[in-house]
């Protein structure tokens, strides 16, 4: 009898840790774009969550119109999101950035405030636009993997989709880290984030470099939006809750670090699922934010950032 109890305690714990970790990959992918734009341009993109939802609607629409397996929609969503990210940065955000306001001889305070205001406005435009087109009804990407699971033992299983997304997130984040580390454009992104004036002396067109970084950030939001659509239902005004979660993950992992995003996502996922298992669904969100506050109080540079900035 006692053995039996212990077994179920262990199974609960293992299930919680496993599904929390799987959830972490998905969290990481939602937050990595935010971490990237902040790390490079010191730009806090308040519309990030709305872009995730925008991408989710884009996937739903494409899947509904054309049919077939929903996975092919990624081949459209990712390049479209990259293009949007590039265009918005080049046409809008580059003109209100810290660097731009400095060039005009304005106080750096404007450089911090303007992007916040502009991306906040963009967030509203996106969510209201989605409401206009898709109404307030919930949407989801229909797929036959929703209820499929991989059984690890008789009482232990993980969702096939979550597992797939976790692997995809790990691969994408590693790829992104490698891209930043080894390519000319990746090096330019890091250089421009460190010292834009000297980056220009190296021949780097910083406006283009920033736009590429924003494009990649929104491309990652595109994959994240697809994952949202595949695993849950969503509405036009869900963006801010994703933004909040993305902030949490980025803070946990240390803003700007790719690997940090993955670890931060896993920490948040595991804590949330375990809190949900033991203290009920209401505790899930509370526990998540408690951990974030705790990390902010004790290690404000994040768990995995080597140095404070």
């Amino acid at each position: 009898m006692a053995d039996d109890n212990l077994y179920w305690v262990g199974i609960d714990l293992a299930n919680g840790v496993l599904s929390g970790a799987m959830l972490g990959g998905y969290y990481a992918l939602i937050s990595v774009g935010l971490a990237l734009t902040f790390g490079v341009m010191r730009l806090i993109n308040l519309a990030h969550g709305d872009w995730v939802i925008f991408a989710a609607y884009l996937s739903v629409t494409l899947a509904t119109v054309a049919g077939g397996s929903p996975f092919w929609t990624l081949m459209v969503v990712v390049p479209v999101m990259y293009g949007l990210g590039y265009a918005v940065q080049r046409g809008l955000l580059n003109h209100v950035s810290v660097q731009a306001t400095e060039r005009r001889g304005m106080s750096p305070v404007f450089g911090l405030m303007l992007p916040l205001l502009v991306t906040f406005g963009l967030s509203n435009v996106l969510s209201q636009g989605l409401l206009l087109v898709f109404s307030a009804d919930t949407a989801t990407i229909k797929n036959d993997l929703s209820y499929s699971a991989i059984r690890l033992s008789e009482d232990l299983s993980i969702s096939t989709l979550r597992f797939g997304f976790f692997i995809a997130a790990a691969v994408l984040l590693s790829g992104l880290a490698l891209w930043l580390k080894t390519t000319h454009i990746g090096r330019a992104i890091r250089a421009a984030s460190d010292d834009p004036e000297i980056a220009a002396l190296m021949g780097m067109r910083t406006r283009h470099v920033y736009a590429v970084a924003s494009g990649v950030a929104l491309a990652s939001a595109g994959v994240a939006g697809f994952m949202v659509g595949m695993t849950r239902s969503f509405q036009p005004f869900d963006g801010p809750s994703f933004l909040l979660m993305a902030f949490g993950v980025a803070v946990l992992g240390g803003l700007g670090s790719m690997l940090g995003s993955l670890i931060g996502g896993i920490v948040l996922g595991v804590v949330q699922v375990l809190a949900g298992t033991y203290f009920g669904p209401a505790a899930q969100q509370v526990a998540g934010y408690l951990v974030i506050l705790l990390v902010l109080a004790l290690r404000p540079q994040g768990l995995f950032s080597g140095k404070s900035r």
Binding site: E102, R103, R104, G105, H184, R187, A188, R190, A191, D194, D195, E197, I198, A199, A200, L201, M202, G203, M204, R205, K307
Partner: protein
């Protein structure tokens, strides 16, 4: 009195005419004109605030940035008008600056800093070979290529800064305060390499506080005072006493 080519019949590679540079309302460089031939090393001498750094920043395109600062006058290099170009275009045209205070990308490794200097499309294919040249010039950097530059000594950082500028294969390289904050031994080592750094056919501009050292390596010099060029010539042409007098602004005005 402009320094004109004495025995070289070819036209000067760099011609600066009537250059003034402003920070807002403040004029930091006042109507400077100068000419350099291929292979020349010009030493720009002057006290703090004389406008030396601003002169170099003007050449590199950094003094022409909207409301904060702008330049007047013309800068011609290799037949192209640098004063109309952005910093990105200027480095592509073959002018590299080793900035004051080194200004390395602090969180990046030695090798990443060097490779950042080879970002231009025309440099990418030869970046690896160029990297080997830099390591041959400064073997110390090869040993520390994976080290993050913020953990290195000032002299080593200066080597990285010089190497980073060389990665773009410049035809004109300008050094701002080459020896500032370095140990005497390190200054010795960098000056020993200067002839190798400013290779045949490359033109150099050197901003330096150390008068004797500057006069030893340069082929021309000019002395700046309060934004003006007050004396110019070739080493040996003018007595050191006259240069010192110009440096301190005695006998002028």
């Amino acid at each position: 009195m402009s320094i004109s080519a004495r025995d070289a019949p070819a036209s000067p590679v760099l011609r600066v005419t009537g250059l003034s540079a402003y920070y807002g309302e403040l004029r930091a460089v006042y109507d400077v004109s100068l000419e350099l031939d291929r292979g020349d090393i010009l030493a720009v001498i002057g006290a703090n605030g004389a406008g030396k750094s601003t002169l170099l920043r003007s050449l590199a395109g950094l003094a022409n940035q909207g409301a904060r600062s702008h330049i007047r006058g013309t800068i011609e290099f290799d037949g192209r008008r640098l004063d109309k170009m952005t910093p990105e275009q200027i480095v592509d045209a073959g002018v590299a600056l080793v900035p004051e205070g080194r200004r390395l990308f602090a969180r990046m490794s030695v090798e990443d800093n060097l490779l950042a200097g080879a970002y231009l499309l025309r440099c990418r294919r030869t970046a690896r070979a160029k990297l080997e040249e830099i390591y041959a010039l400064f073997p110390r950097l090869r040993e520390r290529r994976m080290q993050v530059v913020s953990q290195m000594s000032g002299g080593e950082q200066q080597m990285v800064a010089i190497g980073r500028a060389l990665m773009s294969s410049p035809k004109l390289i300008a050094f701002d305060e080459l020896s500032l904050g370095l140990s005497p031994a390190m200054v010795e080592e960098i000056y020993k390499n200067l002839r190798g750094i400013v290779a045949d056919g490359t033109t150099g501009i050197l901003v330096e506080q150390d008068l004797q050292r500057a006069l030893k390596v340069c082929t021309r010099f000019c002395v700046m005072l309060e934004g003006n060029v007050v004396l110019e010539g070739r080493p040996g042409e003018v007595s050191e006493a006259a240069i010192t007098a110009a440096y301190f602004g005695e006998g002028h005005g």
